[in-house]
Amino acid sequence: MIEVRFFATLREGRGKITQVPAEEASTAADLLRRFDIAAEEVAILLINGFHSKPEDAVKDGDVISLFPPVGGG
C-alpha cells in the first residue's frame, strides 16, 4: 500500500490519511488524479519526507505528503 497524507485545505473531503493499493499508482501524479487534485493546488509534495515532483515514481510502502500553497498575508 501507498500512504497518502493530506494537509491544510487538501483535507477537505479527503480526510487526513488514506491508503492506496500500490498497483494503482506508478507516479505521484497518478495519486493526484485519483484524489482529483490539480497540480497547481499542490505546493509541496514529499515522498518519504523528500521534496519531490508529480512525475516522480511511487512504490509500495511509500508515504506521500501533499501540502497546498499557503500565500496570504
Binding site: A8, T9, K16, E40, I44, P68, V70, G71, G72, G73
Partner: protein
C-alpha cells in the same frame, strides 16, 4: 534599562535587548501579517522599522487586520502603521513607505536592513522580495497564511526555500483568513527574527507549518 523593556529580561539578556535596539528591519506589507509584525517589533524594541505597503484599507480587511478600523477605510495602510508606531513606541524610528514591493524598488527598500519580514499576499511579490534579499545578502523571515494555516521560515541568502514552497505554476486558492491566524503567524516570524537578530543559533531553510484547525505542527526541509 528603560522600564518599558523590563519584562523582556529573563527571556532575553540585557545585552540582547541592547543589540535589538541597534537593528533595522524591513516589513513588506502592512496588512494582516504586517500589522501584527509591526506591533510586536515595536513592543520588542528593535531600533528601526521600515514598512512598505501601497494599499488602502477596505471593509474586507476588518476581520483580521490590526491596523484597520471602520474609520480607516480608504486610508493608506503604511500611514496607519506610522500612526500606530508613534502611539505604541515613539522611541522606535519608523519609516513608512506607501508603495508596493516591485522588481524596481525591492533592493532599494531593503538595503541596509538586518532582516526582512515577508507580510506579502501573493506569490509573485514573494519571489521578487526573495530575489532582492539574496542579492542584498539579507536574511528573509518568510510568513504566510491561509484559513486556519500559518507557515514561517528563516531563509538565508543562497537558500532556495521560496522556490521550493512556491513552485512554478502554483496558484493560491481561497483568500480566506480568520482573525487569529495572522497574529499566530506573525508571532512565529517575530520569534525567529528575535533569535536571528540576537545572534542566537537557529535552523534556516526550514519551513514551520501550523494547522490551527487540527492543532498540528509540521517542520519541513
Amino acid at each position: 534599562m528603560e522600564e518599558r523593556y523590563i519584562r523582556n529580561l529573563g527571556a532575553l539578556t540585557e545585552e540582547e535587548c541592547a543589540l535589538l535596539r541597534t537593528k533595522t528591519v524591513f516589513v513588506a506589507g502592512c496588512g494582516g501579517l504586517g500589522g501584527y509584525l509591526i506591533e510586536m517589533l515595536l513592543r520588542l524594541g528593535v531600533g528601526t522599522i521600515r514598512a512598505a505597503d501601497g494599499d488602502a484599507f477596505e471593509a474586507s480587511n476588518l476581520n483580521r487586520q490590526l491596523l484597520s478600523s471602520p474609520q480607516a477605510l480608504g486610508h493608506s495602510k503604511a500611514e496607519a502603521a506610522a500612526a500606530r508606531a508613534a502611539q505604541v513606541n515613539p522611541e522606535v524610528r519608523f519609516e513608512a513607505i506607501p508603495a508596493f514591493v516591485t522588481e524596481e524598488n525591492a533592493a532599494r527598500l531593503i538595503r541596509g536592513c538586518d532582516a526582512v519580514l515577508d507580510a506579502l499576499d501573493n506569490i509573485g511579490a514573494r519571489r521578487t522580495l526573495a530575489r532582492a534579499c539574496a542579492k542584498e545578502r539579507i536574511p528573509l523571515i518568510h510568513g504566510a497564511i491561509c484559513g486556519w494555516s500559518a507557515q514561517a521560515a528563516v531563509v538565508m541568502p543562497g537558500e532556495d526555500l521560496i522556490d521550493k514552497i512556491y513552485p512554478e505554476g502554483a496558484k493560491l486558492g481561497s483568500k480566506t483568513s480568520l482573525s487569529f491566524t495572522p497574529p499566530f503567524c506573525a508571532a512565529m516570524q517575530v520569534a525567529l527574527c528575535t533569535r536571528l537578530l540576537a545572534g542566537r543559533p537557529l535552523e534556516t531553510g526550514r519551513l514551520y507549518m501550523v494547522d490551527l484547525l487540527d492543532m498540528e505542527w509540521e517542520s519541513l526541509f
